[in-house]
């Protein structure tokens, strides 16, 4: 079995993410991972080989800050110019219902590859809704505490001390989610097709109908035409 499902041009495809969504997703992915590995240098207290990759401890600190600013800019661009998309995203998250709860309960089986029958899902399934809430919350906390740690002189010392553990907890939270998320969005046989949605913008129509039935019907199916 291939690592990622083959990208097929010979079947009907539907748009899943526009350019701006893809730009911000991969932009913050690269900067997040750079922040992560340069941050781990300090979190793990003295992993010299990891520091050496970034040109030593000072180099890692510099990369951490440059990536942090890069990530902040990408997020702001994504949120400002993709404002409509963000609102739609939030609206979809608010549609959290029984089908999502069932999805999350069945998810461990689906994750391991057992064939399970999942109720129809909206644009983002139960797991993606969870990810969409937990990960951005952690990233928001990372940004907030990160800038406080960067400029401790202009903040009360109590706030700086709180930021230290907040930065670490949010780092672990976001990284745990990303460990599962990055795998699901690529090498997982069931959901791997979604990678093309984020990479090229489109997914196979039959896959979309199968995995996000409610979204597909509303956007491309009979419902969208009758309206």
């Amino acid at each position: 079995m291939a690592l990622i499902p083959e990208y097929r041009n010979d079947v009907p495809r539907v748009e899943r993410f526009n350019f701006l969504a893809r730009f911000s997703h991969w932009g913050h992915t690269v900067t997040f991972l750079l922040c992560l590995f340069t941050g781990l240098v300090l979190f793990l207290d003295g992993v010299n080989w990891l520091a050496a990759i970034f040109g030593g401890y000072r180099g890692a600190g510099l990369v951490h800050r440059v990536s942090a600013v890069g990530m902040t800019i990408v997020i702001i661009i994504g949120a400002v110019f993709g404002f409509k998309g963000v609102i739609e995203w939030i609206k979809d998250l608010l549609r959290f219902g029984m089908n999502d709860i069932k999805f999350i309960m069945l998810f461990p089986l689906e994750f391991l590859g057992f064939p399970v029958k999942v109720p129809p899902q909206t644009r983002f399934n139960g797991g993606e809704k969870g990810n969409s809430i937990v990960t951005p919350t952690c990233v928001f906390l990372l940004v907030l505490s990160g800038y406080i740690m960067w400029f401790p002189a202009i903040f009360p010392v109590g706030l700086v001390r709180v930021s230290y553990w907040t930065h670490d907890i949010a780092m672990v939270g976001a990284t745990c989610m990303v460990c599962m998320h990055a795998y699901l969005g690529s090498f997982h046989p069931g959901s791997g097709e979604s990678f093309w949605g984020m990479w090229k913008g489109t997914v196979r129509a039959d896959w979309a109908k199968h995995h996000h039935a409610i979204w597909y019907d509303e956007t491309y199916g009979d419902k969208s035409k009758s309206e």
Binding site: F43, F114, G158, P189
Partner: protein, 269 residues
């Protein structure tokens, strides 16, 4: 080796600030000129180029009238230093005789130590992006000399020597002061924070000199260092293992159930 300590006796200090000058001189620290603040204090606080200062406090006491307190401040060289625990670069070391040393070549300027120190001592030197603080003149002491500040002090307020002997001396002096017009005289640094290597004889309670009566390491720092850093991170390899497991099982199961699923890709029906 026995701990060597610096004992500062507030009742003998005349606030001449010779120690400040001697410290600058020995450690080759440039002058830092700050505007007049309405009292005798030279600087707002210790800073990246000033390892020690005399702090001034004025109180109006209904009984004693105006009290004018001053005290020398510098690193306390804690026996169990928190700065050393939080530093991710192991820039701090403890000498065999008790000084807390900071190595600027290892320091990356993250300033964790500055927020962790219960006495607010490590200070950021912006132009080099490192932390600095009092060295207890380790370079002098290891050559058999006394710290520059103690050597300079003209009134005998600073004494350098064996910590246990100095503690006895300090106790005796506090007792004498209590009997001679300073009923609240006390010593500082024997038990505080598990013991300090800079000892004080005070003519009043520590809070009257801007010292924390019961110095403590912030709970936020302890939580971060003792719980989050050592244990919480293990969740990450756990999640990686889960994904790696799925990578294998989902491929095995997909081949078992055949590729006859609608999409030939495993996953749900």
């Amino acid at each position: 080796m026995a701990n060597l300590a610096n004992l500062y006796d507030v009742s003998k200090c005349t606030a001449c600030r010779g120690c400040q000058v001697a410290c600058k001189d020995w450690n080759q620290l440039p002058a830092v000129i700050e505007p007049f603040k309405g009292n005798y204090q030279t600087h707002e606080d210790t800073n990246g180029d000033t390892f020690t200062i005399i702090n001034f406090f004025e109180y109006e006491d209904p009984v004693d009238g105006v009290r004018w307190n001053f005290i020398k401040r510098q690193c306390m060289h804690c026996l169990d230093p928190e700065c050393m625990k939080v530093c991710p670069r192991q820039a701090y070391t403890k000498t065999s005789w008790g000084a807390t040393l900071h190595d600027p070549d290892k320091c990356i300027g993250c300033q964790y130590c500055a927020a962790a120190c219960p006495f607010d001592i490590p200070k950021y030197r912006k132009r080099e992006d490192v932390i600095t603080k009092c060295t207890m003149c380790a370079d002098r002491v290891e050559e058999g000399l006394t710290p520059a500040c103690a050597r300079t002090c003209p009134s005998g307020a600073l004494t350098f020597g064996d910590r246990d002997e100095l503690l006895q001396k300090a106790e005796a002096r506090a007792k004498f002061l209590r009997a001679n017009g300073f009923p609240r005289a006390t010593i500082y640094g024997r038990v505080e924070l598990g013991g300090l290597n800079n000892l004080y004889v005070l003519t009043d309670t520590p809070d009257m000199f801007g010292l924390p009566v019961n110095p403590k390491v912030s709970g936020n720092i302890t939580f971060w260092q003792d719980w989050i850093q050592p244990y919480f991170g293990w969740l990450i390899p756990l999640m990686l293992t889960a994904s790696a497991t799925s990578f294998v099982t989902s491929r095995i199961l997909a081949s078992k159930h055949g590729e006859h699923g609608e999409h030939g890709e495993g996953g749900h029906e």
